[in-house]
């Protein structure tokens, strides 16, 4: 196990890693009788421009690692540097700013704000970044255009299909142009065809815009498309290998 963890070290060591996790432990209910250790010493390094898949059964700790990478939660022990910033020592306000500028979340259930137009949804991270209204609107329209939703800008989430919602969500994740896209089962609620569209979009962002993407999935076929596949089991990374590759985009 130790050896495998060590094997998960960077394949292309140049510059500063985007995600640098060392010996990370996450324990819930610390000091209580029902204390529960979910992650037992994870080492993980993701370099800028990588497309990494994290796979694992449910209960393997996927969500926990995703929450920590996404700066929604702090590690109990060990260190986590995101783009050089120590997450463990960051205040709540700093974490908010990090989530806003450095990370783009894509959720399984889209999590678009109801009764709010697609454009307003995309504008949301820009709103919290303090971007003025006119520039927000322009940026949102540009991003919706990019994900092929330009003609649906004024639609509300309940007027969109699942695939359309996820494309709006990806546009929203891109709003502040974060270096890292964090996608938690982004195709989990979609049929095969729309899953394909969404995956193609991720590949496009990866190749054309050089986005670093961490994809959490339990779909092996989708994981194979990524450059690197990490398998999580019982709170440990048990294997790390290259993906078969993606041939969908020229």
């Amino acid at each position: 196990m130790e050896r495998e963890n060590r094997a998960a070290t960077p394949p292309c060591p140049q510059g500063q890693p985007l995600v640098a996790i060392h010996d990370l432990v996450k324990t819930y209910f610390v000091g209580r009788p029902n204390e529960l250790e979910i992650l037992h010493g994870i080492d993980l390094t993701v370099w800028p421009g990588e497309f990494v898949a994290i796979v694992g059964e449910s209960g393997s700790g996927k969500s926990t690692i995703m929450n920590i990478i996404g700066a929604l939660d702090r590690p109990t022990r060990g260190s986590y540097l995101l783009d050089g910033v120590d997450i463990e020592r960051a205040s709540d306000r700093q974490l908010s700013a990090i989530r806003n500028r450095k990370i783009g979340f894509v959720f399984q259930t889209f999590n678009l704000i109801g009764r709010t137009s697609a454009q307003k949804n995309v504008e949301l991270p820009l709103l919290y970044a303090g971007v003025p209204a006119r520039r927000r609107a322009a940026r949102a329209r540009e991003l919706l255009e990019m994900v092929g939703m330009g003609d649906r800008a004024k639609h509300q989430p309940n007027e969109l299909s699942g695939g359309q919602k996820q494309r709006v969500a990806i546009a929203r994740a891109m709003a502040c142009d974060p270096p890292l896209l964090l996608a938690d089962e982004p195709t989990g609620a979609l049929d095969t065809q729309t899953s394909r569209t969404v995956m193609d979009l991720f590949h496009k962002l990866h190749r054309e815009r050089g986005k670093t993407i961490i994809l959490i999935t339990h779909n092996p076929a989708l994981a194979e498309e990524c450059e690197r596949i990490l398998t999580l089991q019982d709170g440990r990374i048990v294997s790390q290998r290259k993906g078969a590759g993606y041939h969908g985009l020229a």
């Binding site: 929450n67 996404g70 929604l72 939660d73 709540d92 306000r93 908010s96 700013a97 989530r99 806003n100 500028r101 979340f105 959720f107 999590n111 678009l112 704000i113 109801g114 009764r115 709010t116 949301l124 991270p125 709103l127 919290y128 970044a129 303090g130 209204a133 929203r172 502040c176």
Partner: protein, 426 residues
């Protein structure tokens, strides 16, 4: 995230749940509405009272004989001389005399601006050709004009020669002149037959005064009784009354210290009556009575407004309740916002803004409703509506405060939500 964005967001959220927002606002609407309505009616009432008193000379001091007894019921009001309809009449030697009054004037000098003396001749009729009008005739001295703000529009008021000569002249209201002689006829120099009881005299009009149209004009069915004024000496001779007064009116020159002057006046005249077994003198002014009444209205107003304010409290709790429900419903939204980088204060501000907007919109609706209700109520009571600007400003401020106060706890709860739990919330 600016305040403007928050306000826009709050309105969008309210609009999305229109019925719920309206029902939530209802408590605030009723609370603010009733407070405004009550204050409007109350202010109209006090305002109208003050206005109508202005013409009557609220600072006039009425000096009158009162019976020495436990039941002091002689405090009946009226800007003009007060007649006492007590169970017993003072004997002629009990009346206040001209000597007392001239002593009084000598002692107080400049402090006395006017001493208005009057004696009632009684109600009767004025007849000219075929026209007959009801009148109430009163004999007055020169100061009567000052004390009662009698505004001569044509001719003159009575003068010293009228008094000295006990002349049969009179000053009549403009409406009387018009009713008696017709429109456009100059009444000065005209005469009519004045009949009071068994006495008949031919009376010459020397002046016309402007009769104010207010509630104090006595109405006898549909027939108006016109107040006309004759020289005091003429009336005294006619009635054969004793040379004294049951009451008269004093106008002080320094209105700032009127209450002190009132007390001095009372003390002065009462000193003549220390040995009198059954009579003494008391002085009173409308001013003191009006301020008592106004204070009473204000107290009642405040009490009712306080009760109405309880409904504001209930309304505020309603707002808090709906905010808590709204936050529970929107837990995932809050989680999403946090994941997208919303700091806690932004979430807090968002929900406080929403609660303030609910309260403010409710407050504005309440104010409009209260004004409408208050005006309607005032008109119903026969007063001109006076919306209290202060009450409106306070209401707006108060509804904002309610919004902040009752929105703070739910908003803080939202701000403190753990983003992971919030995102996982079903």
């Amino acid at each position: 995230m600016g305040l403007l964005d928050n306000i826009r967001l709050a309105f969008a959220s309210l609009w999305a749940g229109k019925l719920r927002a309206l029902l939530t606002m209802l408590g605030i609407i009723i609370g603010i509405g009733s407070v405004i309505a009550i204050l409007t009616v109350g202010d109209s009432l006090t305002g109208t009272i003050n206005d109508s008193m202005q013409g009557l000379g609220v600072s006039n001091i009425t000096v009158s004989l009162t019976e020495k007894s436990d039941e002091e019921d002689a405090d009946s009001s009226g800007g003009v001389s007060v007649r006492i309809f007590g169970p017993s009449q003072p004997a002629d030697e009990d009346l206040m005399t001209d000597e007392m009054i001239s002593d009084y004037r000598a002692l107080f000098g400049d402090q006395v601006s006017a001493v208005s003396l009057s004696a009632s001749l009684g109600s009767g009729t004025a007849e000219l050709d075929t026209t007959s009008l009801n009148v109430s005739a009163t004999g007055v001295n020169l100061d009567y004009q000052t004390a009662n703000n009698i505004n001569i529009t044509n001719g003159r008021f009575l003068n010293q020669r009228d008094l000295d000569g006990e002349k049969k002249v009179c000053v009549v209201p403009d409406t009387f002149a018009e009713a008696l002689l017709g429109e456009g006829v100059d009444p000065i120099g005209s005469s009519f037959d004045l009949t009071v009881g068994a006495k008949v005299l031919r009376c010459y009009i020397v002046g016309v005064y402007e009769q104010e149209e207010n509630g104090t004009v006595s109405l006898l069915g549909s027939q108006t009784s016109y107040p006309i004024y004759l020289p005091l000496s003429t009336v005294k001779t006619l009635t054969g009354a004793a040379d004294g007064y049951e009451s008269f009116t004093v106008v002080g020159s320094d209105l700032e210290n009127n209450s002190q002057f009132l007390q001095q006046t009372e003390d002065f005249f009462a000193s003549y009556y220390t040995r009198n077994p059954s009579w003494t003198v008391s002085a009173s002014s409308l001013e003191s009575m009006v301020s008592t009444v106004t204070e009473m209205i204000s107290t009642v107003q405040l009490a009712i407004a306080a009760i109405a304010a309880i409904s504001l409290l209930v309304g505020g709790i309603g707002v808090m309740n709906i905010m808590l429900v709204s936050i529970t419903e929107r837990t995932r939204e809050i989680g999403t916002r946090k994941a997208l980088g919303a700091p806690g204060w932004a979430i807090r501000l968002q929900f406080i803004t929403e609660s303030v907007v609910i309260c403010l919109v409710g407050g504005v609706i309440g104010i409009l409703l209260g004004l409408a209700l208050g005006s309607w109520g005032s008109n119903l009571l026969g007063y001109a509506a006076r919306p209290s600007l202060l009450a409106i400003a306070v209401s707006v401020g108060f509804s904002m405060l309610i919004g902040i106060f009752f929105g703070y706890y739910p908003a803080s709860k939202a701000a403190k939500l753990d983003p992971i739990d919030a995102l996982r919330y079903e």
